[in-house]
Point group: C3
Chain length 471, copies 3
């Protein structure tokens, strides 16, 4: 059985003089608090502070990074306990699921999942041997036992992870009861929400019209007309702000924005409510919403995040059997220069507006995003996202963005995860990669080491707090 | 005259500790047999086992990598002996052709052709001085003399190169007589065919209708109707399988697939036979064929390869004068996420189907191909292809694919060459680059060295045999 | 206050053995004369040889690399003295402008602007401390004082910079009086013009029709008909040649070319003059012009440069307030393989024609540009351009282009700048990056060091002189 090693120099460039610089820079940032302004953890964990479920429930079933890879290599999702929509039976024996996972753990060689998992195994749970078929049972038993101890309760882990801010993501229809409970509990952890309006602004979302009607009900606005609908959206933004939100988030298929005339948008809204939008009209409606949201952000100060470019639920058979978020979201080419123009024409020059752009299409880093963010006061660049939340993905991001947009048009790291235990691992990877990138600049005399130290701290801590207004 | 040096550390990263790891990994794989599952060598070489022609005939005239580069720098193709379609005279003096080539050999600095050729010169022919105008005659005479010796007969080289499997590529209309002769000869070399149906499935192919008619003739099927046509295609797949084929190959302008209704496809087929398809209809027909072929692969087990994205014969004057395959095939942007959807909707979840995707458009590695292959059980990724069959091309492939798809959704190396003598050189480059990539992961503590050793062997030998069912 | 350090090893790879090779290669090229075949300096500087204006006027107000970055971070352009179209007041106190710039100098960390500026500060002006708020006044006073000395007059700097050739860029409507004055002055500096016909060939250019009429006036041709228009364009090419021009330059939104029938083009030309072209027709007209220009280049030997892919004046509010060239030009996706085909079908095989292609879209390096230039005799690749005129941009260019197109289908470096003082800095960055790239090839035994030395000299000096016919 191999040792499980988290080498102190991991991810640093191999050349000794560069590595030395990276080590020194990393020493300055490794213990800084974690600021996690965008993610998908479950607020009930921190509200209720109950023990997490078993190893399989915690680390496999909900992690589409993990089960999509096994699925791609022929492992049935049933054998991993992924629940079916119609309740058809799947594996329920957590130990068997864990063994299947362990047997195929080599599939993750060279992937970030492997690094995150090993980090969790060693640093959170204290394992000394690598995961394999031979150690599967030890792991399963060890993790399950640990999860029952007070040290592994959600709030204890939150403190142990030195998380200073953690944002979850909720729909405007959510009553934020868990966040309410957290606030009322007297616990000091900064768990805040973020406003993700897709269910009430995307005509293609399941139940859009009834969602909009419900939005009207909870806000007391008449959401059957455009004016009332906007008022309701605005109303919920205030509600979210009152529960700590500092940002909104928008996950559209494309980056299209629009700035339509009032009659055009009213017609479009009526069609959307009636379920009669064509694909192009739905796109246009979502585009109009982005511009409206930018306008509201200028009023209420919420930071706006745009996450475009995912072809959701690409695999219809999988979707029918297992539902959403099962690893069948595939990126596609995404255009920003023309797509964002209507919004930018209206609000791009506002220095008090912050719009953070993300992409799954790396070809736009140097061609579109860096030039846009290196010009428009309202634009900042979010970190490398999703499939690119990885060592090589981060390296390409810095290499392709920095020369045109600099460091100060970027906003630090997002972990964007529902895998709570992996949060320290993910932030650690980002810190190491940033320090490695800066060390290279220093070693090539493109930056002085004292400057690099300042930048490392900014990238780790200051920029995210400024950009997301966390203070 | 400079020494001709094949340095034992070539292509390994320069940093000494990384290079040390790369050396150790390479030592494990350098002597493994060559498995070449996709290429364009001529089976008659192995059937007849006659001496190769002269240096110019063997190494220059048929190698479009070589003559396109010289042509781009102003060297007329006539002076390189490239034959014209209408028989207009070209240089026939092999020595003069070779001298022209030698004089311009500096053009290849920094290219893979240069590495392959030097490898052939030193390792296959034993030259000690670098090729230049000064050594041109020595080379010409030396190569020609060697080619007349028994050691340089095709089968002798096959054995010397330690080739375990070599696939050629043939049209369904080919009678496979050379493969037949090889099998009947008692020689033990595994030379097999692959099924490349472009001439009978692409309405834009020269002579499509008569090709389809001939297909009917040799199979005894009525290929004037869709059902009979499919039966004939299926029939030839069986014939190819009987001659060792384990794969099919499809070289389309795009990755478009289709899943049309029966009436639609029958109408389209009739138009195709009548030569009346528009460009879009021809595309749709080819797309339907890909889906049909995937279905047949599920039945008969042939592995399916898709090679899209080349704009063939981009230069009409060159095409008129010299014909096909003269270096004027230019890649163009290629989309996979929407294009493959009809096929994937139908067959993407089949764990017993293997579809290997290639691309000439590197922008899709991280954006489309890795996420697709990292999800769909039926998909695997072919190695970096053609213009990207090069050290930097291979490095980008691993860097952009591995984090999302892992190593085990890839299939090892393809040399894809008609330049038989360069096969060991090409496989050696791939092995070195993979070991260098793995060494970097090890040196950055992203992988343990014992794991990297396993992966290196898998990438070199095991994955290709599994993916292409060679055993 | 930090030291201002221009480290002798800057930009070289950190690994000591590679760095050693890079140093040796760079020693061969660092003192070679500067050949600058494409740029935007003002010929009146060299004609009149008057002192440059103050630090702010010279280094900030005209440099959109500088002020766009500060603007993106919320610094108003007014505070940087950027003049408004309508004369609305902006900051005029050069010292205050300089202080604002100095205070935000950290914004440029990691950017090429930072490297160029530091090079100018240290090497041209002799500063020993880094620029910061604390040193702002010393810089401002020191630069202004220096600019009044004879050593800082334009011709003195030209000689000190060892510039062998410097091309400016002018419209065909320009009378080239400054170039005339330079020639008549007896000064030996090779300052030549280049023919940039956008104002008279782009129907979307402000004042196109009146520009064309004026073109008729100065050439004595009837530019109201196509034949006369072509004659006038040809006439001005001769005029530019007589003033030293060896090249033309074409800055189109896309790479589209066309080869229309005579009636089609005459109809289109009439529409263009009447201001009635649709966007698509204007595009087609520009495309026809590119093909016409290629034909004229074949006749008169002027080298043709194509710079496509910039979305000019993306920010309408900024454009209305400050006018053109204020940093709001954003690249967009650019296609070459289909776009260039009409021109290439006609002229691509001409070995005596030189067309130099540039791009702002790096995705085409390996996919389109290198395969095209690695085949067509008429095509060469310009260096990494604009946002990619940077260390990482240059590295990606070489890594993605060399393996397919080699070194000898490229044309050395362009500084493309109006910032005269930065010319040595920019060429120095290119030389260092090329030497670093070559050193890596040598260290990985992909090239011998004596070959690399030849290539380094070719990339620095010989290729640009050959490609631009400067001798």
């Amino acid at each position: 059985m191999s040792e499980l090693i988290l080498h102190p120099d991991r991810l640093f460039p191999a050349e000794e003089s560069v590595r030395g610089i990276a080590r020194r820079l990393y020493a300055e940032v490794k213990d800084l608090p974690i600021v996690s302004p965008h993610g998908h953890t479950d607020p009930s964990w921190f509200a209720d502070n109950q023990p997490f479920d078993s190893a399989a429930d915690l680390l496999i079933k909900p992690d589409h990074y993990v089960f999509r890879m096994l699925y791609s290599l022929g492992v049935p999702l049933e054998s991993l306990g992924v629940p079916t929509v119609d309740g058809t039976e799947v594996e329920t024996d957590g130990r068997k699921i864990w063994q299947t996972f362990a047997k195929h753990y080599t599939a993750f060689r060279g992937t970030p999942s492997r690094m995150w998992l090993d980090h969790v195994f060693k640093d959170v749970f204290g394992f000394e041997k690598a995961l394999s078929a031979a150690t599967a049972d030890d792991y399963y038993d060890g993790i399950n036992a640990a999860l029952q101890t007070p040290e592994f309760l959600p709030r204890a882990l939150f403190d142990r992870f030195k998380i200073e801010w953690l944002a979850t993501t909720e729909s405007p229809l959510n009553d934020l009861r868990h966040h309410q409970k957290i606030r009322e509990s007297g616990w000091k952890g900064n768990v805040i929400t973020a406003y993700r309006p897709d269910p009430v602004v995307d005509p293609d979302f399941e139940g859009f019209a009834s969602n909009v009607a419900y939005l009207g009900k909870i806000t007391g606005e008449d959401t059957s007309n455009w004016e009332g609908y906007l008022a309701a959206l605005r109303n919920r933004r205030e509600y979210f702000k009152a529960h700590g939100a500092t940002s909104t988030d928008h996950g559209h298929p494309t980056a299209v924005t629009a700035d339509l005339s009032r009659p055009e948008i009213e017609t479009l809204f009526a069609k959307a409510l009636a379920g009669k939008c064509s694909a192009a009209e739905a796109e246009l409606f979502r585009g109009q919403i982005l511009t409206e949201m930018a306008g509201m952000s200028l009023e209420d100060g919420l930071v706006m995040q745009i996450h475009p470019g995912s072809f959701r639920n690409h695999n219809p058979k999988l979707f029918a059997r297992y539902g959403r978020d099962k690893g069948a979201d595939i990126p596609s080419q995404t255009e920003y220069v023309n797509a964002l123009k209507p919004l930018l024409d209206k609000y791009g020059n506002e220095p008090n507006l912050t719009i953070i752009l993300f992409t799954l299409d790396e070809t736009v880093y140097s061609r579109e995003l860096a030039p846009l963010a290196g010009h428009y006061p309202a634009l900042k660049l979010g970190p490398s996202w999703w499939f690119h939340d990885s060592p090589e993905g981060m390296r390409r991001f810095r290499e392709q963005v920095t020369e045109t947009a600099g460091f100060y048009n970027t906003v630090g790291f997002n972990d964007d995860t529902r895998a709570f235990l992996s949060i320290p691992a993910r932030h650690d990877v980002a810190r190491r990669m940033d320090c490695g990138f800066l060390a290279k600049l220093v070693s090539e005399h493109r930056l002085q080491e004292d400057e690099a130290r300042e930048v490392a701290i900014d990238l780790t801590y200051n920029l995210v707090k400024q950009a997301y207004k966390l203070d």
